[in-house]
Amino acid sequence: MNLALQFLANGLVTGAFYALSALGLTLIFGLMRVVNFAHGEFFMLGGVLGWVATAVLGLDFATAFVLVVAAMGVLGWLVDRFMIERVRGHGEESTILLTIGLSIFLANATLYLAGPAPMKVPAPLTGKPLFLGPVVLTKSRLAAVAVSVVLVLGAYLVIHRTRIGRAMRATFQDAMAAKLSGIRTERIFAATFALGTMLAASAGMLLASIYSAQASVGGLVSLKAFVVVILGGMGSFPGAIAGGLILGLSEAFWGGYVSTGTVDIVGFVMVILILLFRPRGLFSLNAQRA
């Protein structure tokens, strides 16, 4: 029973991290419908740049975080304006191939420049782990969960409560109509892509302070993020959180009670079943097919 509680706590924390790392993809894949295989590399770059800023340049965590996220926003903007823009409307293949090329490039350039060793970002919070009855949790994990909640709320508010958010929703519903009513859709696309990149990078830097950043982690992160986005429903933030938690919990319990080797299979089987039986995702309210 105690073990079950610990699995529950671990699953919730891992799930929050899954949700956090999938947020950027919720925007880019869920809303923009760009099948972005470079998502994991954006996440990885967030962690590696965070390591450069804190461990190499000696900045404090908060300053480094702001700088890294801003730099990644610029990168995302440039990638969209100079690459994705050129293949928009040419079907999935071109974007998939383009983002696969980008991910191969980013992963290997990072590997070449920074080496294969894990890079640990100094954690902003240290101290003894908390004991809640039989359950053990560390403070930095709880802090990361709290930051994820803030980021999710922030992104949600931007999309649902601001002018640019309304322009985004209009553009992804019908780009032509949005253009006709005076929205500069190419800017909206670039802004959304940049926002998604920034979310991915902030997740990468936060998690690099708990685990560590590694040049080769991108592929796995992309796959998990796709699973979370599809579980939760395309483009839905509450869905992404629920999807992340479901994935984290089912992996924790599967790993605890069935077998640890096959943990990764859980998410993929769920994706296959979801797409077959409930293609709108578990929590999608609007009529968008997921």
């Binding site: 894949f29 690459m83 696969i100 980008l102 080797g261 990764d264």
Partner: protein, 327 residues
């Protein structure tokens, strides 16, 4: 596309005389690898270019073929001329099952669900130690006796001719499929699903035909790969094989039979050539892939096809003036 059949025949003739001109075992090895990739790229191209859906799970069929051939030859002792066709058939059966599930979806969902299937198979292959020997893989897949007897260059030549034979059979099957009712129906669905349905084409059924043949071809390639490399591990399901296949198909030009053949040969050559750049190899490779998408979106065949389009533009005004005259 009238030149396509003669171009393909030309490629095959070139392939047939190739080993007599080149005796270098390293070059022959590259040619065999290129042959395997030609079959894989042709098979993926059937889905990407003719069904018009983008599969990221094609390694599923390659891996099933490889494991099938490895198990059939090590455990059951069957010879290579039986294991490779059986590998293709088994992959085809899996193709029917996976296709029946995945082809109900389109667009990004098809992409992700096929990827999920390949990943599930990879994890099963890693963990089902009783059947696949897990991460250790199956070593010592037997070589044909004739290869062992023929020495280094002779052995490579025998493998080369087997690969060339497999390429010829695969291209013939793909050619027949593309020219069949199913192939033409698939193109109609790709171009406009609703118009195709309105003239009585069942999109799901035609896609199933093409998907199944595509799985069979990938299974052939996997079976042959198992014998050639003589080792099969869970990495046959890895995404890097998939990335190579996609790059070959799109670099060569999807929806043409010749394009993936050229793409496979060029990419295998390019990957080898970039070995000079050592650690920067994959970084450069990523850049080249991006450049191809941005500057030659229809691949090499698209570049080649540009000239006829330019010629056609010169002829176009005559056509317009003909139509303009009162009947």
């Amino acid at each position: 596309m009238t030149g396509e059949r003669s171009s393909l025949l030309f490629v095959l003739v070139l392939a047939a005389v190739f080993p007599f001109a080149v005796q270098n075992p390293y070059i022959l090895h590259l040619a065999v690898i290129a042959g395997i990739y030609v079959v894989l790229a042709t098979s993926l191209n059937l889905i990407v270019g003719y069904v018009g859906e983008f599969s990221l799970g094609h390694t599923a069929f390659f891996g099933i073929g490889a494991y099938a051939a490895a198990l059939l030859s090590t455990a059951a002792g069957l010879p290579i001329w039986l294991t490779v066709p059986l590998a293709g058939l088994l992959a085809g059966l899996f193709g029917i099952v996976i296709g029946a599930i995945t082809l109900r979806l389109q667009g990004p969902y098809f992409v992700i669900v096929t990827l999920a299937f390949a990943e599930v198979l990879r994890i099963v292959a890693t963990n089902w130690i009783g059947l696949t020997n897990g991460p250790m893989g199956i070593a010592g897949v037997p070589q044909p006796a004739s290869v062992a007897a023929a020495g280094i260059v002779g052995g490579k030549q025998i493998y080369y001719f087997m690969a060339a034979g497999m390429v010829a059979v695969s291209l013939y099957l793909a050619w027949r499929l593309v020219r069949s009712n199913s192939g033409r129906a698939a193109v109609a669905v790709r171009e406009n699903r609703f118009v195709a349905q309105s003239i009585g084409v069942d999109p799901f059924l035609t896609a199933m035909h093409v998907f199944t043949l595509s799985a069979v071809l990938a299974g052939f390639a996997g079976g042959f790969y198992a014998h050639y490399v003589s080792f099969v591990g869970p990495e046959v399901f890895r995404f890097s094989f998939m990335a190579s296949m996609i790059i070959m198909v799109l670099m060569g030009g999807k929806g043409t039979l010749l394009g993936p053949v050229l793409g496979a040969v060029i990419v295998v050559g390019l990957e080898e050539y970039l070995r000079q750049a050592q650690e920067l190899r994959l970084t450069l490779f990523g850049l080249i892939v991006m450049a191809v998408v941005l500057f030659a979106p229809n691949g090499l065949m698209g570049l080649l096809a540009r000239r006829p389009a330019w010629l056609a533009r010169r002829a176009a005004p005559a056509l317009v003036s003909n139509q303009g005259e009162p009947a």
